[in-house]
């Protein structure tokens, strides 16, 4: 085989690989692999999660969901910034500003309770959304994957509860002092 043919073949394979790498599905998979929430999932499991996930794009200042609305999906930020806020009559409090790789609305995966806060895109933002009933169906189709997602979710909710308890404790101590 001539050297020229080898180089041509190599070039062809490189182009094909690059083309494959740049498909939206592969991008999504690569992104999911980089998120700690999914770090326990194998490639096959990530693929089955990727099949049930929706990609959404939001403009700057666009509401992703509103406080009080029934929650149905969990959001993962792929690109951009999101502000989690609560609106009251006299003020608006920003609870957190989330960036790439962060997620919000996780309680919607557990029940239909209303959203406890609003989420708004601070800049053009791309998110991945996982619908509660799709995750429920994943329990039947792929129980192991669903179980691992729920475990990760429980860990996150537990962490947040722990930090909230610490916050409440600190505030109580401050008031007592």
């Amino acid at each position: 085989m001539s050297m020229r043919k080898v180089v041509a073949d190599k070039l062809l394979w490189e182009t094909l690989k690059r083309w494959k790498r740049s498909s939206p599905e592969t991008d999504r998979l690569q992104f999911l692999q980089s998120v700690p929430f999914f770090n326990e999932l194998t490639n096959w499991q990530l693929k089955s999660v990727s099949e049930i996930i929706f990609e959404r794009s939001y403009d700057a200042n666009e509401l992703i969901f509103e406080e009080g609305q029934p929650g149905a999906a969990w959001f993962l930020i792929m690109h951009g910034k999101v502000s989690v806020e609560i609106y009251r009559e006299k003020y608006t409090a920003r609870l957190a500003t989330l960036e790439k790789g962060a997620f919000f609305g996780e309680m919607a995966l557990l029940d239909e309770s209303p959203r406890s806060a609003s989420a708004r895109a601070l800049e053009p933002t791309r998110t991945l959304a996982l619908y509660r009933n799709d995750l429920n169906r994943l329990i039947e189709k792929d129980p192991q994957t669903a179980c691992q997602i729920y475990r990760a979710l429980a860990r996150i909710v537990g962490d947040r509860l722990r930090s909230t308890n610490e916050l409440v404790q600190n505030e109580t101590e401050k008031v007592a002092a």
């Binding site: 794009s57 939001y58 969901f65 009080g68 029934p70 792929d142």
Partner: protein, 430 residues
């Protein structure tokens, strides 16, 4: 500062442009879809049938879900399984489908027996030997119907010649039995029960006008119908291969504001339709099974009992009318049945028609009291009046298919409207 204002103005303009574009696009799409709908309305039924089959088939596909197996391979495996089941079922059914000779025998026997029973009922005498008053009344009402049935069951010239050939021993088949030949002779002398009305405008008997289609036209229409119906399996296959892409595509078109709402509505709709369709299928299967078992117990041959059970079970999907059609089929066979020996001791074979009526009654009662609450309990409840109106409207629009799809359509519309309004309120959109 000026830059910020410029940006706001540009954003406002962009949003206005987007609104105009959306409205224009929506209008054009509505017109195009409306036009296509009007021009290609004949495709609606095959597409609906294919889509519904794919919908019913989905649980089977889900059963083959193996994480490490490629989706297309999983679908092919499930298709192969369904194909195998259908192949064996078809092979089994094919042996029970009457051939040319049996069809002729059946037609002759059916016509003879029906006329015999009709004569018995019309000429029935009371205990004192006098004719009852009921006979002429039945003759007046049922006579024209019997004439139509006789006209339908009449053997045409070619069929008569074929019958006589089979009688003499044709295609190495054993000759037709003497009793069928006697029926054949007797059928030739069957007279009409009502005088044939002449159309004064044409001077032709009214019955003769029933069919004006030429054989060439019928053949052409048949080809067209076949081509159209080829769409159903294609839709079924393509939807079978779909791995949620269609849903994702449609959800992708929905504005962000309605994203979660549309997911919830679609899911509820999917759930309601699935429950209703699978529930109805199970209900039809149970009714068909009841009738089949009952008919076997009444001594009807297994192949015939299964055939009647399958057809009655399928038409049971049409509320109210399903039972009537099942009764007509069962009763039709009971009237022509010969040499029947009921498996239940003490039953008189001559009263088979009465037993069939009782059996259909029991199946209907079981359906209403046990099957429906048990199988369709959590599915959508539709008011009986709505059911009646929907069936009549369906039959007026699309005949038998219309009647069959009337209730699923009502279920879809009812669930869609209810869910949409509930969710729109929950999401504080209205």
């Amino acid at each position: 500062m000026k830059n910020g204002k410029d940006f706001e103005v540009k954003e406002f303009e962009r949003k206005t442009r987007r609104k105009v574009f959306h409205i224009a696009f929506g209008l054009v799409t509505t017109i195009v879809v409306g036009l296509l709908f009007w021009k290609l309305h004949m495709l609606i039924l095959p597409i609906t049938v294919g889509a519904l089959l794919a919908f019913l088939f989905r649980p089977v596909k889900e059963r083959f879900k193996v994480p490490w197996l490629h989706h297309e391979l999983q679908v092919l495996c499930s298709f192969a399984c369904i194909g195998l089941v259908l192949f064996f079922a078809f092979n089994n059914v094919r042996t029970h489908i009457p051939d040319e000779k049996q069809k002729l025998e059946l037609k002759v026997r059916l016509k003879y027996k029906l006329n015999e029973k009709y004569q018995q009922v019309v000429n029935a005498k009371a205990a004192d030997g006098q004719k009852t008053l009921l006979g002429p009344l039945i003759a007046k009402e049922a006579g024209p119907v019997m004439d139509q049935i006789n006209h339908f069951l009449d053997l045409n010239q070619d069929e008569q010649e074929l019958f006589l050939k089979y009688r003499a021993g044709y295609k190495n088949e054993p000759p037709i039995e003497d009793k069928f030949f006697e029926y054949f002779i007797a059928n030739r002398t069957t007279s009409t029960y009502t005088p044939v009305e002449h159309d004064p405008a044409l001077g032709q008997p009214a019955v003769a006008q029933a069919s004006t289609a030429t054989p060439a036209k019928v053949k052409k229409d048949g080809h067209k119908e076949l081509t159209i119906w080829m769409l159903a399996p294609l839709i079924f296959i393509f939807l079978g291969f779909d791995n949620g892409q269609l849903r994702r595509y449609f959800i992708g078109l929905v504005p962000n504001r309605y994203f979660e709402l549309s997911l919830t509505v679609m899911d509820m709709l999917d759930d309601a339709i699935g429950k209703y369709l699978r529930g109805t299928l199970m209900e039809c299967f149970l009714v068909g099974l009841t009738l089949t078992v009952g008919m076997i117990l009444l001594g009807i041959p297994i192949s015939v009992a299964v055939a009647i059970g399958v057809v009655s079970g399928l038409v049971n999907a049409i509320p109210f009318l399903g039972t009537v059609i099942g009764l007509i089929i069962g009763l039709g066979y009971a009237l022509i049945a010969e040499n029947v020996t009921p498996l239940i001791p003490g039953l008189n074979p001559d009263d088979l028609a009465i037993y069939v009526i009782v059996l259909v009654g029991i199946a209907h009662l079981l359906d209403n009291v046990v099957f429906q609450p048990f199988v369709l309990g959590s599915a959508v409840n539709v008011h009986p009046l709505v059911v009646m109106v929907a069936i009549i409207s369906g039959s007026l629009m699309m005949g038998l298919w219309g009647m069959l799809f009337a209730i699923p359509t009502v279920v879809v519309v009812k669930t869609a409207v209810e869910t949409l309004f509930k969710e729109l309120k929950d999401y504080r959109i209205i």
